[in-house]
Assembly symmetry: C2
């Protein structure tokens, strides 16, 4: 019935999780899935799954459940994964290399379109057929072919500089793996992926668990990452 409602931020964050579960189920031969099953795998409650999915449209069959393959397609479409997004990765150290080669990209229509590093020893190197170039070439590279998303895997000290270059080249979406707070203008989509921040959140729950010492069952965080701010 709904099909065109605005999808809440919280739901958007969960859709990729459902995607992954659906793909694993499909690979294991399941074709139909109930909200209950999806919910238990995603560690959320079934009503939430149904509400989330109903925002995409009425794709379930009452009495049966959802068709996994069809649902994947619908979620893909709604997440904008039915088109290719070119990505540029800056900082080709261990982490950048790991990401560049990871299946996170290829599997889902993200294409590693460019690699950047300022170390002359690394410039010119090929990682899966993409040549590493100097960050200062970014404006040129962006002209050659459009870029949609910038990924920063440089050391903290270089992160802001690289971010500025990306913004200058017209990028408006940045995924930052460097342990550094970045300043970007209004309207830029900026997300942080950060080991240290994740660990600190874990530490909080660990120490609370220690305090309450089994008295209360630990507040299970069945979550993916964390979510501070929303629009100011």
């Amino acid at each position: 019935m709904s099909g065109r409602r605005r999808i809440p931020e919280a739901t958007v964050a969960r859709l990729p999780v459902y995607q992954r579960i659906l793909e694993e189920l499909l690979r294991s031969g399941t074709t139909t899935v109930s909200s209950e099953l999806l919910a238990s795998a995603a560690q959320v409650n079934a009503a939430k799954v149904r509400k989330d999915l109903s925002l995409l449209g009425s794709f379930g069959t009452r009495g049966a459940g959802y068709d996994a393959a069809f649902l994947i397609e619908q979620i893909d479409r709604r997440l904008g994964l039915d088109r290719i997004w070119p990505v540029v990765i800056a900082g080709i150290g261990n982490l950048g290399r790991a990401l560049a080669r990871s299946h996170g990209f290829a599997a889902r229509n993200f294409r590693v379109a460019a690699l950047l590093d300022s170390d002359p020893a690394i410039i010119g190197e090929r990682v899966d057929d993409v040549v590493v170039r100097h960050p200062d070439d970014l404006p040129l590279i962006a002209e050659e072919a459009p870029l949609a998303i910038g990924v920063i895997t440089t050391p903290a000290s270089a992160a802001q500089r690289v971010a500025d270059l990306m913004l200058g080249a017209g990028l408006r979406s940045i995924l930052n793996f460097a342990p550094r707070v970045l300043e970007v203008p209004q309207g830029v989509l900026l997300r942080y992926v950060d080991l240290s921040i994740e660990l600190q959140v874990m530490s909080f729950y660990l120490s609370r668990q220690a305090e309450e010492a089994g008295e209360d069952l630990m507040p299970v965080i069945r979550s993916i990452g964390l979510s501070p701010g929303s629009p100011e």
Copy 2:
């Protein structure tokens, strides 16, 4: 006035961000900071910062702001960062190596206590003085010295097996970097850090931006990661 109230999940997720900003300010010579300044760096609104901080206690000075060094100390204490948490990393490929050597650990009282990999070519290798051992040794390792947090950086195919080993060795907190949904029993703290999921969320906002084509200013996600589930 409050000092002992239960801290909401949303606030816990933001505290490490404030931490990082405070540290950067301190390094640049600032000693006192207003909620307004913190807010603009964290890209949230000032009332939120004040409410978050007031949950820790009344540590600000009216008319002046907060003392950065003191505030860092208070947040540390509340996040449980005033003690050392031993971490075990499983999967010593590019990503595992990058994490093991990253400052995310040392900087904030997390100690890399053990490294695991099942590849005989890697077992025995030292990464910053920690010897890589076989995952099957985990029960022994856990007996030698307590472990608090498990980090999974294996390929997806090995992730569940390693998680089971960690659970078997008594670990109750897992940080999963492998692109795989894990099954864990109730009460285990499980968090995912996932490139592909982050990219998919970005894709959603990018394609919405494309649709709305500048009509409405893009919903700026000034956030760190994402937050699906809360306790069921």
